[in-house]
């Protein structure tokens, strides 16, 4: 038998009809129950209560004053957090659970390809997680209105949320196809989610601590011989000097932040914030995160301006302007994160397809086909 024919016949083909058939089967199996509606209502209520409490906590009243985007940002993060909790349950047992129930093998015996089965299951899980997102949508919109978030910011944020849920569903699918036990795959999927959402931050912190090294910094400061009796110094009274101290070099570890779903959401949301100067008044919550991550990416500045007296009257130093420009010119972080998550998701799906393909060569130890 030639390898060419083998390659041709074993190349899995997915048909739209087949994918939809499997998705419909999955949705009917898992979704058709009162419990599902109850879960959606509970999810919506939690997000709603959270939004209301937050609005009162921040402003003392609903729709009051300026909250600097805190309500929008926090509601979005809360929805993402809840989504990260819910999504693993949709796929983490979907393949090994079916194997246990004896419902996978009859499906594999049909003309449906492994690709079709996996993509169909993934589509169903994603649709289910999108249902949760839809329930939360009104509160995201309320948050956007209250926080005066631009329309596009809200739209992009929701799209990125939807994408992140798909990634989590895909990871769960890959693990459920690779592990014999449903408990093991569920635990590992939650571990994967925790790694992305929490451990990236922890490791970033630890990495930052490890990256501390002696660094020479130029400091623009009032000269030592300035006579303070003359009153507040002006910018002409300052001069450069060099100072060497321990500084963290976050430019080596910033990529850990790029893998974090929260950072991706914050960074991807278009912000109209003004980063040229540290006018924190103009910054939103998501925008500040974007700014902080970019600062981390650039690493410590080679200079510091301590000559902040009469700041309002003076022009920024050329060095400061240049750093601001560098920050602006940095490419966004979210494409890296989304790229990495796409690789993760695609890899998981490919693994799942390989594990579902029949006829089975090597079986996962501890499983029977039927």
């Amino acid at each position: 038998m030639s390898t060419a024919t083998q390659a041709r016949t074993s190349r899995a083909r997915a048909t739209m009809g087949g994918v939809w058939l499997v998705a419909a089967l999955e949705l009917r199996l898992r979704v058709r129950s009162g419990k599902w509606i109850a879960a959606l209502i509970a999810f919506g209520s939690l997000v709603g209560i959270f939004t209301l409490l937050l609005a009162f906590a921040v402003n003392g009243q609903m729709f009051g004053g300026d909250d600097y985007g805190v309500i929008f940002g926090t509601v979005v993060f809360f929805v993402l957090f809840m989504g990260l909790l819910v999504s693993p349950t949709l796929t983490a047992t979907s393949i090994n659970g079916d194997r246990k129930d004896g419902t996978l093998a009859p499906l594999q015996a049909t003309t449906l390809s492994a690709t079709t089965i996996v993509l169909g299951k993934l589509l169903a899980a994603w649709l289910a997680s999108l249902a949760f997102l839809t329930v939360a949508l009104p509160f995201i919109v309320i948050g956007a209105v209250v926080s005066h978030a631009p329309f596009w910011t809200a739209v992009v944020t929701v799209l990125v949320l939807a994408f992140e849920l798909l990634v989590i569903c895909a990871i769960g699918m890959g693990l459920s196809a690779s592990l014999a036990g449903t408990a093991a795959s569920a635990v590992l999927t939650y571990l994967a989610v925790a790694t992305l959402a929490v451990l990236t931050l922890v490791f970033f912190g630890l990495g930052t601590a490890l990256s501390i090294q002696p660094t020479t910094t130029r400091i623009y400061d009032v000269s030592y011989d300035y006579d303070w009796a003359e009153g507040e110094p002006s910018i002409e009274d300052c001069e450069w000097r060099e100072e060497t101290w321990e500084e963290p070099h976050t430019e080596y570890v910033w990529w850990l932040l790029a893998a974090n779903p929260f950072v991706i959401v914050a960074d991807a949301a278009p912000a109209e914030d003004d980063f040229d100067r540290n006018f924190y008044d103009d910054q939103t919550m998501l925008g500040s995160i974007k700014y902080a991550v970019r600062e981390a990416r650039l690493g410590p500045a080679e200079f510091q301006n301590w000559c902040y007296y009469n700041y309002g009257d003076t022009e920024a130093l050329p060095e400061e302007l240049q750093r601001a420009e560098e920050l602006q010119e940095l490419s966004a972080v979210w494409p890296w994160g989304i790229g990495f998550h796409t690789l993760l998701a695609a890899g998981s799906v490919l693994i799942a397809i390989r594990r579902v393909k029949v006829p089975y060569g090597k079986l996962i130890s501890g499983t029977r086909v039927a």
Partner: protein, 315 residues
């Protein structure tokens, strides 16, 4: 036996499914060592063997779910390795574990599988309903599959397995857990399907049950099928008829006067006849000789006696 006249062993050339030299190991466990079989259209073939003999493993390979380590499987001319999808569509497989599609109704289960084999939506529904009716499940069509009894689930599973009208049916212990009436119904259904020209392979432990529904049998011990030797055994077992006379001595005297091989038993004798017609001829001869024949019938279960004697050799 239903059909004794037909040649028991199927000719590989016109077999619906053939397997030659099939092997499969799971790690260090050699589940199937060497399996050869050919099943013919219109016949029900039994796959018989003790627990752990490798029957389920062999059936999984025949259904295209498990890759053999060696050997070839062809279904209606399609090689399972070279054109797996084509070969797979010609096989209907009913597993021994019945899947539970919890919240799906019976109609939805069968319809979904019809669609999974590429049948158009409207045809799929019609086909599903036809099958449910055929297997007396019509009244459960819109009820969740979960509530069915074991026997009903088994019928649903069978309906699911034949939804794409396959030429070959592979049934893994379809009779397990069925009451006598349900078994009789299953037997009828299988004979009907065979009469439609399907080749059926069925594994079971209830040998007496199989006796009445199969045309041929493949025995499997410790991963190896027993071909010709088992057929000979079976052939001989099928030709053994027990004769009971009102007067045993008179019966034995009459038997001594004829040419067939026979042995005495308490109530009469066991005679090796050539076939069913010969058995009828024997009866006529005995009656003509003035022997009062109380019973003349095949001895016990042919499959069982073959199984026991082969298993005895195995030990």
């Amino acid at each position: 036996m239903d059909v004794v006249d037909e040649p028991a062993a199927a000719d590989p050339a016109d077999a619906a499914l053939t397997a030659t030299g099939v092997r499969r190991a799971f790690g260090t466990v050699q589940a199937v060592v060497s399996a050869d079989l050919a099943i013919a259209p219109g016949q029900v073939t039994a796959l018989i063997g003790p627990n752990g003999a490798g029957k389920t493993t062999l059936m999984l390979m025949l259904a295209g779910l498990l890759a053999p380590d060696a050997g070839t499987i062809t279904v209606g001319g399609a090689n399972m390795r070279r054109s797996p999808v084509k070969a797979r569509t010609r096989v209907g497989w009913m597993p021994d574990t019945l899947g539970t599609w919890d919240s799906l109704t019976c109609l939805e289960v069968v319809t979904t599988f019809a669609r999974a084999y590429g049948i158009k939506a409207t045809d799929a529904r019609a086909r599903a309903f036809e099958l449910l009716t055929r297997f007396q499940l019509a009244e459960f069509a819109s009820r969740p599959a979960r509530v069915l009894s074991r026997g009903q689930k088994q019928r649903l599973s069978l309906a699911r397995a034949i939804v794409h009208d396959p030429a070959v049916l592979i049934l893994d212990e379809p009779a397990s857990g069925l009451d006598p009436r349900a078994r009789a119904e299953l037997r009828t259904v299988l004979r009907e399907l065979a009469a439609e020209g399907k080749a059926i392979l069925i594994s079971s432990h209830v040998l007496a049950e199989l006796d009445e529904m199969v045309d041929d049998a493949v025995f499997m011990f410790a991963g190896s099928t027993r071909g010709t030797e088992a057929s000979e055994h079976l052939e001989r077992a099928r030709r053994r008829y027990s004769v009971i006379g009102l007067d045993a001595a008179a019966l034995q005297k009459a038997l001594a006067a004829q040419t067939r091989a026979w042995e005495t038993t308490e109530a009469g004798a066991i005679v090796e006849v050539a076939d069913a017609a010969d058995a009828a001829a024997l009866n006529a001869e005995l009656v003509a000789a003035g022997v009062a024949v109380a019973a003349l019938a095949p001895v016990g279960s042919a499959l069982e006696s073959t199984y026991l004697s082969l298993e005895g050799e195995q030990r």
